[in-house]
Symmetry: C2
Subunit: 359 residues, 2 copies
């Protein structure tokens, strides 16, 4: 029996509830299947721990995480800690130091979801995207600073860094993803009209890599501003989408909103070399406004867990992951087991129980 070691970081707010829900569903899945199981190490790295002891992660955090096959992440961020502190002391260092240079964000309209756009209400299958987000550099390179403090002459900079190596690997991943999908179509997003250095390098590398997929993957380019218009008006015209760290961050939230709820959207932070554990997290945050009420939507957490199973199985557990997704969709198909954000009134526990039963 194969044992997968999972580092679980529930983090803050609803991150705790939905991680617990994910663990229950994962265990149920393993039990039903019988060929594998999960062994968890739970890390108490969170904003409340930070407020007590002054740090999020211990000095040997990377070493500790590397002892696991995958990382399951709930959410981080809490009103009493400035967000840039919580994020730069936890989620962003993990993505960067674990070489998780790809962030994959699939979006489609799950059964039982009501999309806000009327075209998608009529034809939910029009929205079926995979957003491939560059996850290691660009606008999140972390460089920049402030001069003249916060006085009247203060100047602050943010330096976005793009490397040929960084761009090429994400482009190859995106083309491969597009190739593996039925429609074989890739849309590349930049803002190369205004940002004439880094974004122009994106254009150049995209064109270079595209040559290797000529006749295999259909491809086009969009400016990020115009892309939002296309996502609203012509969702059916896209399939796989590749964009920079910041652009894809924005577009993937918009995608989740168009697909009906930010509470259902998953994300996988992948190190495709498999030298480091990859990390799986719903794209929603810690939601301080509903934390501790037991009403958080666990679907984004389940979907992320399903993607984790797919990744761990290296092809062998695709059927299991599909079965997990099927169970989730069956539960969502029933109005009685939908949470508030989906128009229902079920609790996190009720949805989790229903999914476990379905499995």
């Amino acid at each position: 029996k194969k044992i997968y070691k999972i580092a679980a970081i529930p983090g803050d707010g609803i991150g705790v509830d939905i991680t617990e829900a994910a663990v229950q569903a994962l265990d149920k899945l393993a039990e039903t299947n019988g060929t594998f199981s999960f062994e968890y190490t739970t890390f108490d790295w969170s904003s409340s721990a930070y407020l007590e002891r002054g740090w999020y992660m211990p000095p040997d955090w990377a070493e500790q995480l590397r002892k696991h096959d995958a990382i399951y992440f709930g959410a981080v961020g809490w009103p009493s800690v400035p967000d840039h502190i919580s994020l730069w002391q936890m989620i962003l260092p993990i993505r960067q130091q674990m070489n998780q240079y790809v962030n994959v964000r699939p979006t489609r309209i799950l059964r039982g979801t009501r999309a806000p756009v009327s075209q998608l209400q009529e034809k939910p299958s029009d929205l079926d995207w995979i957003i491939v987000r560059e996850n290691s550099e660009g606008e999140y390179a972390g460089q920049g600073g402030t001069t003249h403090g916060h006085g009247p002459n203060a100047i602050a900079t943010e330096l976005a860094i793009f490397t040929r190596v960084g761009i090429e690997r994400i482009m190859r991943f995106a083309f491969e993803t597009a190739k593996s999908r039925p429609r074989k179509k890739l849309t590349m997003v930049t803002k190369s009209n205004a940002q004439r250095h880094g974004m122009v390098l994106w254009d150049t590398v995209f064109n270079d890599v595209a040559k290797d997929y000529e006749g295999v993957v259909e491809h086009d380019k969009m400016l990020v501003d115009a892309m939002t218009v296309r996502m609203v008006n012509k969702p059916e015209s896209m399939d796989t989408i590749v964009a920079t760290n910041l652009h894809a961050d924005i577009l993937s939230d918009l995608a989740a909103a168009l697909a009906g709820s930010i509470g259902i959207a998953p994300s996988s932070n992948l190190d495709p070399t498999r030298e480091n554990p990859s990390m799986f997290e719903p794209i929603h945050g810690s939601a301080p406004d509903i934390a501790g009420q037991g009403i958080a939507n666990p679907v984004g957490a389940f979907w992320s867990a399903a993607e984790m199973v797919r990744w761990l199985g290296k092809g062998d557990l695709d059927g299991v992951a599909d079965q997990f997704m099927e169970a989730i969709e069956n539960v969502m198909g029933d109005p009685k087991t939908r949470t508030r954000d989906m128009g229902g009134s079920a609790s996190t526990t009720e949805v989790t129980k229903a999914v476990c039963e379905e499995i």
Copy 2:
């Protein structure tokens, strides 16, 4: 009789058609009113001129523009010239050197427009926003570069620069705008969780300026990614929005899409000191795909022209601008005088004629 000197730059593609339409409507407005008129200088600065002679604007362009009271801009950008060249040789230098540090983008659902989101189909008045875009610095500062050329080790950077002075003036403008509106509400957008230098300075300055409006303007903060979700799901929860150059670029396109068509959205590039002429342009581009077919939607151009009238009048022509908007909405209310993007089949000329008649 007051004469306003207008520098008209039709530019590329449909920019030419819609500038002509705007000029016709403006002349009709002046003629009907009788107290003012417009005198135009038309500049042939465009991509086709660039392809012939190698430059967009002559060395003394700034001096030439400064002889006018306002600039009316169609669109720039053409497939045979890389966008970063066309934009950095025309629209961006104008915005920056004419000190047009504010870009105002009002968005609402005009009569006769069908919004894609069903909530807005039922209640169009839920969307009524003014997006105030920082227009002089930030991600469009124009700094950055490429090292190691386009070889395997190429590194390219984009440097976003934020200054206290630049942030403070846009915040004050945004608070004043919010204060002048019935709902007196301002939402400030950043990505200060990931971009911890420039965006944190935005947060700081926002908090400082907010103190002067305590009890007068209600205000809140959003992260740019979450903002897209709120725009789709809770349009009624916002009124005036302030964001950086890039964030507001993206959000204003999304806003236009949610309001029903990118073809109707206006923008005003303002130098609030009035030392330089301000510039008015629809937010849509040159649309090479429909250029020369006479089917471009002139409504964004009219609305931009109405905002120009308002600005030139310094309060005295508000009634005239409102009358112009009323004429536009009356024409849009009639399915026979809507262009293709609005679900109709009218030509640019037909819509223009109808608006002139209404005026």
